[in-house]
Amino acid sequence: MKRLYLLPWLVLGIAVLYLASGFMRPAHQSKFDVDAFAVLPVQNGGRIMPMDTLARTCLIILSGKQTFVDDHDMDHPVTRPAIEWLLDVMVSPPDEERLDGPAHKHKVFRIDNDQVLAFLGLKARPGLRYSFAEFSPRMLEIADEADRIDATEEKNRSLFENKLFELAQHIRLYKNITIWADPRVLPPLLPDDERWMNLYDAKLVMERIGRAVPGFQQYLGMLSAYGKGRAGEFEQSLVGYRDAVKQRAPEAFPKADFEVLFNRLEPFYKCMVFCVGIFILGCLYWMLGYGELRQAAFYLGLFTFLIQTWAIIGRIYLMGRPPVTNIYSSAIFIGWTAMGLGLVMEAIYRNGFAVVTASVTGFSSLFISHMLISGDTMEMLVAVLDTNFWLATHVVCVTFGYTATFVAGFLAMKFVLLGVFTRALQNDGIATLSKMIYGVICFATLLSFTGTVLGGIWADQSWGRFWGWDPKENGALLIVLWNALILHARWGGIVKQRGMAVLAVGGNIVTGWSWFGTNLLGIGLHSYGFMSGAMWALIGVDILMLGVIAIGALIPTKYWASYQPLRPSALQLPAKPKAAPRLKPA
């Protein structure tokens, strides 16, 4: 096993290669220069974004994916990127009578409700994705039904009504692109105007001022060339259009370039994969005992943390906002801070517990964030949230508090599961892990209290009520109370190591409730909208936690494998681990 010292570097090398794979060309190649098209800045949803983001966002809203399958050629379906779908939509005729547009046959509308499918006269098929051409004969009925639903109060809508209304909105989004109402592609002519023009606005302006808006003709030329399949002409018009936009909005380009790079790299998705790697390496270390495995896990953790840091800074640069602005960004922020906290603890304890916990917490929150993507993740903020100061202080602090409580909870899960079923915690494992849990809970109490208080101050500053007992505030208060309860129970000797771990697992339930449960209450358990999936996920996680709590609380320690006295043979069984490399001088 002499060669094992190379392992950490090998792992790092693989990670770098995997990250760089975002730059690889897809197997399918368009004859058009779609890359140049992808970086063009446009205005959509109130912000400047590249065409690439627009395409991905729209496709995610419609189909839940960032690519689509083009089965035009039945025998050889190809997976194509979102940007090509967007181009196809832009050159497809807007009216339902003419279904010869290339995009109308792409199966990108996800319809998962059987009543809606029946209403449209469609049959359920694998993937549940349908093309515009398939349901366009029923367009009038859809519109009538949507008008009727629009008049009903949101609370009283049935599942079918919600789903059909959602489909109608998706169709509107799609049609807005075909009629060129969206996106806004030409920068404003007046310097203090923030609103970009779409082609209609531009036409009105041209009629009023009596001369051409620069870029207008070139943009049309570009689309027409794409529709006719002339790659050379497309490129030529594109360059002309790009130069015209660049003259009036040069500042939009660097950000658009960066955002496309960001989209291609998919840093958070890849970090999720890295977390799996860390977890496997950490578990192998416990089983086999080679220090190099722990080192590899630690290095991979550092690399993941680095990528996460870069990506979060990237988002701050793109949005001009503090890192947490919506529930998606709170999830990636929790992933990042969990990784950071885990690495710090790993550097102190060097036993593999912290880094594996960080990978589990990190993976879970990144996975949640991945599931939460339902449109633009860098959307503009509603008026009351439009304050960078409070976003940077209160929101960041509360999210830190969530992270710490989760990390304590996951460490405690490990305490219970490893303690009951394995001998991994024999020797001083129980004491060490217990200390770690205790320390993190102290940290969590401080952060969640501070965060909650900062929220109160924000509320007092913006509507004169420090504390209003509203669901979100109550959720934050529950975390503080729960952590305070654990600490006081421990100080009072009411619980010891095992009891504290069991309570800390409960912290996961409390934090999950505060993070998601209160939001679910808001849109009511009356509505069965898209969040109902999240509700079932939350209930599932809670049941899992309760299971761990039951194991930890009900099985007396004399039956815990890790509480068994050390057998002489057990001391020799695992191959003697090599001394783990010291990360700091002893």
């Binding site: 949803g45 439009d386 004169g464 209003g468 729960w482 006081h488 009072g492 009411i494 808001g522």
Partner: protein, 445 residues
């Protein structure tokens, strides 16, 4: 790490009790240092009343009680959140958090998995739990804690918590909230209190002075008509009172309770009161159908619809006077007046998403000779003569725009700031001391 702040064993050992009565000096000598320190405090003379008092204090100081109270508070806050699916935030606040006991409905306890049934489970309310926690904390400091550097963090932290609870008490007792609602150009010199609707019967013959009677809506009870009240120009019988209502888009004459006034042309329907979990926190708009009868004769003057949703006046003649009948919110007159000059409602370019609300108002205070223009926007309120004005909402009406300012007077507004600073400071000191302790030991080993 070994807890440097481990509390003493919760149950007092018999020698310790003896030590308080100062009859067993030997036992006293055998106590740990800290126990000894605190047992100096009670007087050394045997006084059975004081003994009993200190025993009570010691029982109250138990950490087990702290943990139990935390657990109860967690349950209360949790169900106080669930209750907001059904009821408005103010109802829940007064029932759950500003009360001694609360009856939690069974369907709330079971997280709404069953339909509402008239069964509830009694539970301690916010005042009670908060009060007990406060007592527990103070008792703990009287008996258990010794002033020392190591404990300084905890002392500051707990001091802050005591102040925080007092602050919530002050807010609960003395804070007043209201609304100032005006359309463009309108000048207003009163504040509305949406939580307190009232029936106003006004004699408006003199445009300068408002003269009349207001009846708080809790008197509008269908079972208890208001008869022969000397303040009222006529008797009032309530047909129906609706705490929250909507105007019907189209008039439906069938079964209309109204026989006179605006009610002949407009009709409202009862809707549930706004819940604390609604995404749009709108105020409840009450309405009522009332029947007026001439005093003494009992002659029917007609059944009227009165509603917050009706702005136009309704005139009733009785006793030689013309009275204007309306249902409005309780008003507090102000010494100053405010005129809405401009109402900005910015949206993000190309979307319907609100970016900012701002009201430009002219504030005139003749007493102080003030007359100036002010801009109030989201997250930047106006503080003026003990009141604070916050931009709360904005609505586009036909041809004009309505701005709603939230107005708050809270004498205890500064308490949370001071107390939370103390708590955070206390935690930093306490956990910081532990951390340095831990790190130094880690380095040593």
């Amino acid at each position: 790490m070994k807890d440097s702040f481990t509390a003493k064993a919760p149950a007092p050992s018999p020698p310790a009790t003896d030590a308080i009565t100062a009859k067993a000096p030997n036992a006293f000598a055998s106590l740990p240092l800290e126990e000894r320190a605190r047992d100096h405090r009670p007087n050394q003379d045997a006084n059975p009343v004081m003994d009993l008092f200190w025993m009570g204090v010691k029982a109250l100081a138990s950490l087990r009680l702290t943990v139990a109270l935390f657990a109860l508070a967690i349950v209360l806050v949790f169900y106080g959140t669930w209750a907001q699916v059904d009821s408005g935030i103010w109802t829940v606040m007064s029932k759950y958090f500003r009360s001694y006991f609360v009856m939690i409905p069974l369907h709330v306890v079971l997280l709404r998995t069953i339909d509402p049934v008239p069964v509830g489970i009694p539970f301690p309310g916010g005042w009670l739990l908060g009060g007990l926690l406060l007592a527990n904390l103070i008792a703990a400091h009287l008996t258990r804690f010794r002033v020392s550097w190591k404990r300084s963090g905890i002392l500051i932290l707990h001091g802050g918590l005591i102040l925080l609870m007092i602050g919530e008490l002050v807010t609960g007792l003395y804070a007043v909230e209201g609304n100032l609602t005006f359309v463009l150009g309108q000048t207003v010199n009163y504040i509305d209190h949406p939580l307190y609707p009232e029936l106003a019967i006004m004699d408006e013959s003199d445009p300068k002075v408002e003269r009349g009677v207001v009846v708080p809506v809790h008197y509008l009870d269908p079972d208890r008509p208001i008869a022969n009240n000397e303040l009222l120009p006529f008797d009032v019988e309530t047909n129906q009172y609706m705490a929250n209502s909507r105007m019907l888009k189209e008039m439906d004459p069938a079964g209309n309770p109204a026989t006179a006034g605006v009610g002949l042309r407009r009709r409202v329907r009862d809707v549930p009161e706004g819940s604390g979990t609604d995404s749009d926190q709108k105020i409840d708009t009450p309405s009522a159908y009332i029947t007026l009868k001439e005093k003494g004769t009992g002659r029917n003057l007609g059944t009227y619809l009165v509603s917050y949703l009706i702005q136009e006046p309704q005139w009733i003649e009785s006793g030689g006077k013309k009275w204007n009948l309306s249902l409005r919110f309780k008003r507090t007159p102000c010494e100053f007046s405010m005129q809405l000059l401009k109402a900005d409602h910015d949206k993000w370019p190309g979307t319907e998403k609100p970016k900012n609300y701002a009201s430009t108002v002219r504030l005139v205070d003749p007493k102080r000779g003030e007359d100036r223009e002010i801009r109030i926007s989201m997250n930047s309120p106006l503080r003026e003569s003990g009141l604070t004005f916050y931009q709360s909402g904005m609505q586009d009406l036909e041809g004009t725009r309505l701005s709603i300012l939230q107005v708050v007077r809270n004498p205890g507004w500064w308490i949370p700031y001071a107390s939370c600073t103390m708590v955070i400071l206390g935690m930093l000191i306490h956990f910081g001391l532990n951390l340095t302790d831990f790190i130094s030991r880690k380095v040593l080993s």
